[in-house]
Symmetry: C2
Subunit: 367 residues, 2 copies
């Protein structure tokens, strides 16, 4: 791995001081912000995540706030998912597409009220798309990036840790619901969500000034729980089939290809951008789709570019995320595979930079 | 410096193979793409750049292409700079602002024809802003990211190197003009421009497939010129007063604050986004502005966050880029300073993470 040159442009977060104190070893850059990728080692971080509880600096999931009378209207224009029955305590995973049905982001929308929404974004400047639309359509809405930074609490002891800081009511929050909790006199939205399959929460830290106070409060409260700083773990997220925008899909893919058809209510939602394009795909079905793929043999190198998938030297797809899984003793990967070859059990060749490897389409992800 | 974790999301470029073969030591991430920052060392790279010629992988200056009948109309909506007299062989440095006059990007616009433009962007997803506007305004235009990757040729021997590959006509290209040149049967736009003050060109490489062929042709042709792989050099760009979007300015700054008032024809251009906001600033003048600031004493640490500027403990601005200058024997820096204190010669205190340092506002940048 090469070094990363520091600059203001690669933004620090309200929690960077804590991350550094815990010995972060590597970063990626996500929404022009530093996102830790390794603390002890990828495998040690993975084993700890599955057993204990971790605090994750995911401030890079920046918020796009839509506020004022047309906020709800604009929010529905952004996505094929029907927001009509969404409550003021709910979060929805929402594909956001352009006129061609191409994915621009796969954020989590948080409904604060009918005329106030937070969109917790994956790695693309969704702010610019929403601002451009609001301007072009002359909507009565303000769109901006507020000083709100998510802090992830992930792992099987997440409820125990948060209950100590916020009280036992935290345990009652249901999946993709959120509640308001007090910290130092400030109301914070806490949702049961996050970028792992080990359970946990995301705290929407409203104000950078309280970031390190909250960080420290969590570590003070969780000493006997072996709480550690962690981060999205490549091995665990691939095992769990959690997609990564920019890795597993880009604006060249529609939501059906990404297996997100269940979030596309193309018949029910009368007016969203990309409807014509998605109606067509919904009717015909996608010609390729994301699949879990096992890559046999020893550990693969880092997947820093798409790896072609071939059958008899013909390209039938590509792998875009891959890692060795300590628990499943195989390389787990995410790939986009042509319809003719996506059935579970299909034998494939994966063309890695180190040479071809045998693989096979799995029935489901490793969870 | 920490390590950077590879992933497809941090996109490789058509020239990555060449960059790696030449021993790149560090990267930054720019428009979700790898941008080299160090080859031999920052100082060795700097000294070489000022004396010889370098080839820079600046593919991260992604292009936003506007094409079809409303392209010209949309292009003018994006910027306060008057594009009315722009020729089909010209590049313009254009501030792009939102309704509030806040900077969204400071790209170079390349006019191919009235209804076809490339916008060579700084570090923000300008594509999304332009697509959002085009959609909202229902313009007859296609906006997308073409497979066009700039390759920089920088340094005093740039003309000599390019003349060997493209012919002596290259010498006749004027500053911020471009011409069409043949390479392997493909027409490439080559402009006299670039992100250094040492002279040179940017080749708009149209098609990733010829990237490494061109890279190799340049190195083959320039062996006796001591041509090397290089990259934007922090020391040299600060000496030269070249601004960096995301470092020295953000959407919280208007173009006048950035010293870009000369590119704002707010009276002459009748219809651009942000006109009301900029008319007000143009009339009243900015309340803060970018200034060259010398920071006295030994070399400063990396500027990875804004450093407050104080006078008698009162905050009067911030430094956002800083580096030791081998040629000028001082720390050169770029800061935003309040009007009351921006006069050349003003003594300042710069609050670095390593403690306060004395500095002073300079009359001009170090060139």
């Amino acid at each position: 791995m090469a070094l990363i040159s520091p600059s203001r442009r690669l933004r620090r977060t309200p929690f960077s001081e804590g991350v550094e104190a815990q010995g972060v070893k590597a970063y990626t850059v996500y929404n022009r912000m530093l996102l830790p990728t390794v603390f002890e080692s990828p495998e040690a971080d993975y084993l700890h995540l599955k057993k204990h509880v971790q605090v994750w600096d995911v401030a890079c999931e920046r918020q796009v706030e839509l506020i004022r009378p047309d906020a709800g209207k604009l929010m529905q224009l952004l996505t094929p998912r029907d927001l009509g029955k969404m409550g003021e305590d709910q979060c929805y995973y929402v594909p956001v597409v352009d006129e061609n049905g191409g994915m621009l982001n796969d954020p989590v929308a948080v409904k604060i009220s009918d005329d106030r929404w937070w969109v917790s974004i994956a790695d693309s400047d969704l702010l610019f798309w929403v601002k451009g639309l609001a301007s072009g359509l002359r909507l009565n809405v303000t769109v901006h990036e507020p000083d709100v930074s998510p802090l992830g609490i992930q792992g099987p002891r997440s409820d125990d840790l948060l209950a100590r800081v916020f009280g036992d009511e935290i345990r009652a929050i249901r999946f993709f619901r959120y509640g308001w909790f007090d910290f130092q006199g400030r109301k914070l939205a806490i949702a049961r969500s996050g970028y792992s399959k080990q359970g946990g929460f995301e705290i929407y830290v409203d104000g950078s000034d309280i970031g390190m106070d909250l960080w420290n409060a969590l570590f003070d409260a969780g000493q006997d729980l072996d709480v550690r700083a962690g981060c999205p773990n490549l091995m665990e997220r691939i095992e769990g089939g959690l997609l990564s925008y920019g890795n597993d899909m880009t604006d060249q893919n529609n939501p059906f290809e990404c297996g997100l058809g269940k979030f596309c209510n193309v018949d029910r939602v009368a007016d969203f951008i990309g409807r014509d394009a998605l109606l067509k795909v919904a009717k015909e079905g996608p010609s390729q789709q994301i699949r879990p793929i096992a890559i046999h043999g020893e550990a693969v190198p880092a997947c820093d570019r798409p790896w072609p998938i071939t059958i008899d030297s013909e390209i039938v797809g590509q792998v875009t995320s891959a890692a060795w899984s300590p628990d499943f003793h195989t390389n787990v990967s995410i790939g986009m595979v042509d319809k003719a070859h996506w059935a579970a059990g299909t034998k494939l060749t994966i063309e890695t930079p180190d040479g071809p490897r045998d693989g096979s389409v799995q029935e489901r992800f490793w969870i």
